[in-house]
Amino acid sequence: MDHDTLILFWVAVLGFAILVYGLLDGFDLGVGMLFGLSQNGTDRDAMQAAIAPSWDGNETWLILIGTVLFGAFSEVYAVLLSALYIPVLLLLIGLIFRGVAFEFRKQSGAAMRPVWDFGFWAGSGVVAFVQGAAIGTMITGVPVVDRHYAGGSFIWLKPFPILCGIGLMAGYALLGACWLIRRGQDSLRARAFLWARRAATGMVITLGVLAALALVLRPEAAATLLERPRAMVFPALWAAVVIALFASLRSERRSAFPFLLTALSFVSAFGFLAAAFWPWMIPGAVTVADAASPESSLRFMFWGAGLFALPIIIIYTAVIYRVFRTGPVTTY
């Protein structure tokens, strides 16, 4: 296997990991944000229990993304994290408070519980926002000189990235609501349908504004898209999926459909970004080939991590999801 094939393999793994992370931790973070909208103690317990067995494994996909970047595309890892110094700090603090809330909520008395509850939903919200803002920052462009970031601390604090952050918050909230539609008991499920409809509306509006804004800010990007008509398959798919999603949200029955449709909308949005920007990893600055690690690194990772460990991870993750597929989760 030559260098180019290895690079393609690791780009594919990276894309797969980003999607899996977005979908899996997406619903955790979404449930976390919705937790803040719920005032009912029983609902809150049920919401946290619905994600308690899986959040840790889901969050680990983020670390997997980080280490695949570090190992296979170290220039992107170095540039992105340098450019997003403050957002990454916020992301990590959000993840810390979201993560400890699972145990601390159980152990704390009544006095401290509201604090950890706040950390849980606010942390989830900050994490979702920062991830969206990071995508938005990459789309608007990151200055790179001599393989290192060459910009200031607040490159992410612009309308387009901020709007991307809000859009991803809405998207994750939608995923979370759909997860509760699948897992929640009666009263919670009814509220989840309401949340899902609102979040879906919010997501559609934000993405619409973002698309218009992108055309105004970067007219040359629209021209590039015209040369790639096949990339337009994804927005079309996305529109069809979203229409089906709104239809599926009209009933009030337990169903896995809304979640699957939302997941599909994420896949098509991600597919569009990939098709529109290929072969750039950081648009306009770093291509896949620029960033790729030497062949010996990619090969070393391929045989053990890629070909052996990754399929095993997928298998046992699926097995564990089956274990917790039905019924309320009880604590130990």
């Binding site: 997997l64 994290l81 403050i86 990454v88 990590l92 690194s297 053990g304």
Partner: protein, 462 residues
């Protein structure tokens, strides 16, 4: 005088977040193995006391592991945010090693932990035991890759330089070099001993207060026995680790021995207040020729001093000198506790020996202190290099980094860790104090029902 620039602040931040992180893995690596062992004992014998001990330590584990996870995520991003120079130059070696950690360890431990915490009633007993073993295996593999990474930074091997970038050449050397094969067992043994000491201290605490007699005695016998065997092994492996420093990092060796001038034969400074400015050891207690014996196994070897190295290549002296002595001292504390404890257990006197229980409780932090001190020795002693002999720490830092940003993030981490730590430790403290409860009904997540006094003092099934 050092200037508080982005590099120094980044170093302080890294030291802070990694020191506060490593405390939890040091505990949970051992605890995961301990849980798997106890669950196996329960699986094969069916004795209820094992189940109570397991359930108790599982609750402690869940908090400690959670804190290890959240503080560990921070580590995965530090290399990019603050050490982009290192990430960009050496990413092709360090990245794959950390990638392997995620692929083989993190995923496994995180996923199976869900089963261990929430799945007891959902899976068959053999699968539950398997899940416990997978969590333990995951923690061990994680330590393997981290140590491989760090060992390569200490003694870089199996690489070549291409256009100023460090490129892997021989992965077998990088992953399974002799340095790694000594330093990884050194760390794993340290983790087991840390957990063993924590278990002994907790059980001592219960015995002192006359509670949970059965669980305390089971816990104590198991872990004292284990420690008694592991601590001599650790001292041997530790000596090998010292040999490696002596051979590959002579400047670090000179620093941690506070040997300012080359000596033949070399004396050993047992304790002193080294003064790097004048190159003298104040208030020193020295033993002639012992330095040669420790370093080279002879009575008259020549041992190099810091004066052999140009000033810009010398590590700091004070920190490595003292942290090294603290680590060794804690090793002897653990040795004493383990061997005296086994002798008492042999005579059936553990329960009566209150003085030993008090001692056991006091020595609770010995393992943690040794782990932290050892890492400070290793990391500060490696300075001024990030990758020994190849990349200076000053060149490893992110070029675009603004001092204000690092000051802000350092403050934020200190504040957040301060909050999370104080509450996490309080919750762990409460669990340890209350001890095992009767078989928890599923869903009984918050009730804290200490065993009744009668049950606690009833004759055990031992």
């Amino acid at each position: 005088m050092a200037e508080f620039d982005a590099t120094l602040l980044s170093r302080i931040q890294f030291a802070f977040v990694i020191a506060f992180h490593i405390i939890f893995p040091a505990f949970t690596i051992g605890l995961a193995a301990w849980l798997a062992t106890i669950e196996a004992a329960h699986f094969f014998t069916g004795r209820p006391v094992y189940r109570r001990v397991f359930d108790f330590w599982l609750r402690v584990f869940s908090i400690a592991f959670g804190m290890g996870v959240v503080t560990g995520v921070v580590m995965a991003f530090q290399f990019g945010t603050n050490w982009a120079g290192l990430a960009e130059r050496a990413g092709s070696i360090q990245g794959p090693l950390l990638g392997y950690e995620t692929f083989t360890a993190f995923m496994m431990e995180a996923t199976f932990l869900g089963v261990v915490l929430f799945g007891r009633n959902r899976v068959a007993p053999w699968f539950y035991l398997l899940a416990c073993i997978c969590v333990s295996l995951g923690t061990l593999l994680s330590s393997f890759w981290i140590l491989a990474n760090n060992s390569w930074m200490q003694v870089p091997v199996g690489h070549k330089l291409v256009d100023g970038r460090i490129v892997p050449d021989d992965w077998l050397q990088i992953v399974l070099g002799q340095v790694q094969l000594v330093r990884w067992p050194h760390m794993v043994l340290a983790c087991f001993l840390t957990t063993g000491m924590s278990v002994v201290a907790t059980a001592s605490w219960w015995l002192l207060r006359g509670r949970h007699r059965d669980e305390a005695l089971v816990s104590m016998r198991w872990s004292l026995g284990l420690m008694a065997v592991l601590i001599p092994a650790q001292m041997f492996v530790g000596h090998l680790a010292g040999d490696i420093v002596h051979r590959f990092q002579p400047a670090k060796f000179a620093a941690l021995e506070a040997r300012f001038e080359t000596q033949q034969p070399a004396s050993e400074v047992l304790i002193a207040l080294p003064d790097p400015d004048t190159g003298k050891n104040l208030y020193a207690i020295e033993i002639p020729r012992l330095g040669s014996l420790i370093a080279s196994g002879t009575l008259d070897s020549r041992e190099v001093g810091l004066n052999t190295f140009p000033p810009q290549d010398r590590p700091p002296v004070l920190l490595p000198f003292f942290t090294f002595r603290i680590m060794v001292g804690m090793g002897f504390v653990l040795l004493g506790i383990a061997w005296v404890g086994v002798a008492l257990a042999w005579r059936g006197a553990l329960e009566r020996a209150r003085w030993f229980q008090i001692l056991g409780l006091i020595c609770f932090p010995a393992g943690f202190v040794a782990v932290l001190a050892g890492w400070f020795t290793a990391e500060v002693g490696r300075q001024p290099w990030a990758i020994y002999g190849i990349l200076r720490t000053a060149d490893a830092v992110t070029p675009s980094l603004v001092t204000m940003d690092v000051a802000l993030s350092l403050l934020a981490y200190v504040a957040v860790y301060g909050i999370v730590y104080s509450f996490g430790l309080t919750y762990i403290f409460r669990l340890l104090r209350d001890g095992p409860r009767d078989f928890a009904a599923p869903g009984d997540g918050t009730a804290k029902r200490p065993m009744s006094l009668a049950a606690a003092t009833a004759p055990g099934r031992e």
